[in-house]
Symmetry: C2
């Protein structure tokens, strides 16, 4: 089953419920920066997301330095945002 790119209306509706996330300038990805108490907490969070990601076969682009994690979500097979990105953003918000 093909992965369908969200319409602009679907994207905007999803983002309205994800206040932590910002639309990237090109409109093809969403981004969030998360702060933790220390590296142990930050990497613990990343480990939970990693397990989710591999199970969902949908992976983040992410950067970490010490207690900061910056996450970018996009769906290459959809050339933009899909429901998979929204689901991952919701999962991240539920544990961050």
């Amino acid at each position: 089953m093909a992965i369908v790119r969200l319409t602009d209306a679907q994207r905007d509706a999803a983002l309205a419920e994800l206040p932590r996330w910002n639309l990237r300038a090109d409109g093809l990805a969403i981004e969030a920066e998360l702060k933790f108490g220390d590296f142990n907490e930050a990497f613990g969070f990343m480990t939970r997301v990693a397990i989710y990601a591999d199970k969902a076969d949908h992976h983040p682009e992410w950067f970490n330095v010490y207690s900061t994690v910056r996450v970018t979500l996009t769906t290459h097979d959809a050339d933009g945002l899909s429901e998979r990105d929204v689901a991952m953003a919701r999962f991240i918000d539920s544990i961050a």
Copy 2:
């Protein structure tokens, strides 16, 4: 005990034995890009480095997308490269 910045000669000698690593343009950090078979392998590698890092109280700056990990090592307390970066680079090379 203060963390001492490597002299240019020490830095160059260390880099000569770390062919995977490149000196960043500003000379204050070393960088490497590592490729793995898939996300599971890449994040498994990151987990090993994370455990090393927190034990050594010296943490990488790193970016991951799927099977690629880009690592930057520097020692903020030394305003450049220290023996801690060389030790971490050696550890990374030993497991990558």
